[in-house]
């Protein structure tokens, strides 16, 4: 109940900017499709595993979009809630609990993830990049990926007082994951150490699941294993974020 009121607050702010954000949600995948499909794809004419290169990377791009949006919404806005606008302090002064404040914030992050991913999925469908009736399941998967990366990030953002660490977080976490976690090429091509890092990253598990959903192929690893691994990130992330919020809001 309380979480919904908090989500409603975030949506009232979003109402001012949603047009621009939805527009860019479509623009980015559109440009990507053109660039990779028409441009890069022409050089990779063998495709990967019998699938055209574009169709192969689309699920990876959707998963990495989920990652980017989730991380973006879990960093500066959360820091601001504690440090600049101090929204969370106003919320905890009302009869809300820490779970409501955190839950409402997470709900908004996931909503943003869903909108961006759905836009990407729609563009991909228009380009004929979806091969399976399982493709809509991607929308559930991006929520899982979003929560798995957003929650630990929220915990991190709730622990810092200056945004200089956030740029660093993008450099050491988001960019390497995007480049090496199986979005653009199979992680099997990586040397062992990097490959294991890729296996540890939540993104690879998400990418493999999304790819399985849009292409209708078996995942490279057990689907249940992927889901459980991401669920562990969600659970630990939630505990961590809740503890950080609690500490900061009710000292």
């Amino acid at each position: 109940m309380g979480s919904l009121a908090v989500l409603e607050y975030h949506l009232v702010g979003y109402r001012r900017t949603w047009r621009g954000s939805v527009f860019s949600s479509f623009l980015l995948p559109l440009l990507t499709m053109l660039s990779f499909g028409v441009g890069v794809g022409a050089y990779v004419d063998s495709g990967i595993g019998g699938v055209p290169y574009l169709d192969w990377i689309v699920p990876g791009l959707i998963a990495s979009t989920a990652l980017q949006v989730a991380m973006g919404e879990a960093t500066w806005p959360v820091l601001s809630g504690f440090q600049w606008v101090k929204t969370y302090f106003s919320q905890i002064a009302a009869p809300l609990r820490v779970v409501d404040v955190l839950g409402g914030q997470l709900g908004f992050v996931l909503l943003r993830v869903l909108v961006s991913s759905a836009a990407f999925l729609a563009v991909a469908a228009a380009f004929g990049a979806l091969h399976s009736a399982w493709a809509p399941v991607t929308l559930l998967l991006v929520l899982l990926i979003g929560a798995a990366v957003a929650l630990p990030t929220i915990a991190f953002s709730a622990s810092i007082t200056s945004d200089s660490y956030l740029a660093l977080l993008f450099r050491v976490a988001v960019i390497p994951m995007t480049l090496f976690a199986g979005v653009f090429f199979p992680v099997e091509s990586l040397p062992p150490v990097l490959r294991w890092l890729a296996y540890l990253s939540p993104l690879w598990h998400g990418v493999d699941l999304c790819r399985s959903a849009t292409l209708g192929v078996a995942p490279a690893w057990s689907a249940t294993g992927h889901l459980l691994y991401l669920a562990v990130w969600v659970a630990l992330g939630w505990l961590l974020a809740h503890a950080r919020f609690r500490r900061r809001l009710l000292d």
């Binding site: 302090f89 905890i92 009869p95 009710l250």
Partner: protein, 312 residues
């Protein structure tokens, strides 16, 4: 209605707040009955905000007893907060939302239906005279307008107790008088007010009773007039001298009035009859460059109790 045995809405005994090794609130006893306007007066760092945050149920006491509305803040925080209104020391309005949206979104945290929230927002904007800014963003508002909006937001749930942490700091005199007048109206409606302030005139105007805090402790408690009678003389003579240091002059005034306080720029001479004391000063051959005879205020009480001025 659930209240503690002696009828106090707020009841604290030996209340302490520690931050690591540092003790911000050092064992205070407070009882505030329903309908009272109660003040915390004290200089920077006295522990006023720390106390207010414990009462607002967003900061756990380190020791002591605290009951709000007969409930335990640790276990029943949300239930208590549902009946409180809080105006924090620093505004935490959303600058990107409109004035009205700041109220309506906040009302939703109290499970107030949307339609009621809109009605109440309009009433409250009327109350704090911000109706003409209802649709504009908060960002460009003046400090005084933001403060009034924060106060309006604290009233959105029709609270029984309103906590105001320095409600008028940074406001110009006109804005301050508007806030005072509104708070006075709330008090007349039976709302219990708790406020902190650096301003003795604010405390004298608004508070039925107040405590003077210093270094985390309560150093005096009572009604404003009562405190003045107890800790100060009826009148004060403020003396300024062109050349001599106030301390040097103080030495020459033994026996005049009840006591003196030497401030860097002036000497305060406490006496029940200010004019008579001034005559004695002149009889001693002292010729002050400036003289002011005035009534004692809480500022004098504070100076006497702590040896420091409240606002410098």
């Amino acid at each position: 209605m659930t209240v503690s045995s002696d009828g106090a809405l707020i009841h604290a005994r030996g209340l302490r707040k520690r931050f690591g090794e540092f003790t911000a609130v050092d064992g205070i006893d407070v009882d505030v009955p329903r309908g009272e306007a109660f003040g915390f007066l004290g200089p920077n760092g006295a522990g006023k905000s720390s106390t207010m945050r414990m009462i607002a149920c967003v900061s756990a006491p380190s020791a002591g007893t605290l009951r709000i509305l007969g409930m335990d803040p640790l276990r029943q925080g949300p239930a208590i907060r549902a009946r409180l209104g809080v105006c924090p020391q620093l505004d935490n309005l959303d600058p990107e939302l409109t004035v009205r949206e700041n109220l309506t979104t906040y009302a939703r945290y109290f499970r107030i239906p949307r339609r009621v929230a809109r009605e109440r927002a309009d009433e409250l904007l009327e109350f704090v005279q911000l109706t003409d800014r209802a649709g504009s963003k908060v960002e460009p508002l003046s400090g005084g307008m933001k403060r009034r909006l924060t106060i309006a937001r604290a009233l959105v749930n029709e609270p029984e107790i309103v906590l105001l942490d320095e409600p008028t700091t940074g406001l110009d005199p006109q804005a301050r008088h508007l806030v005072w007048e509104r708070l006075f109206r709330l008090k007349q409606q039976g709302v219990t007010l708790l406020l902190t302030t650096h301003y003795m005139d604010e405390a004298e105007q608004l508070c039925d009773r107040l405590v003077v805090m210093d270094g985390g402790r309560i150093v005096a408690e009572g009604a404003p007039r009562e405190l003045i009678t107890r800790y100060s003389t009826r009148e004060v003579v403020e003396l300024r001298f062109a050349a001599d240091a106030p301390e040097d002059i103080a030495g020459k005034l033994a026996g005049v009035g009840e006591r003196t306080e030497a401030l860097p720029d002036r000497l305060l001479l406490y006496a029940d009859d200010g004019d008579a004391a001034l005559a004695q000063v002149q009889q001693r051959g002292l010729e002050p460059a400036g003289v002011l005879v005035r009534r004692s205020t809480l500022e004098d009480v504070f100076l006497h109790l702590t040896g420091r001025t409240l606002v410098d």
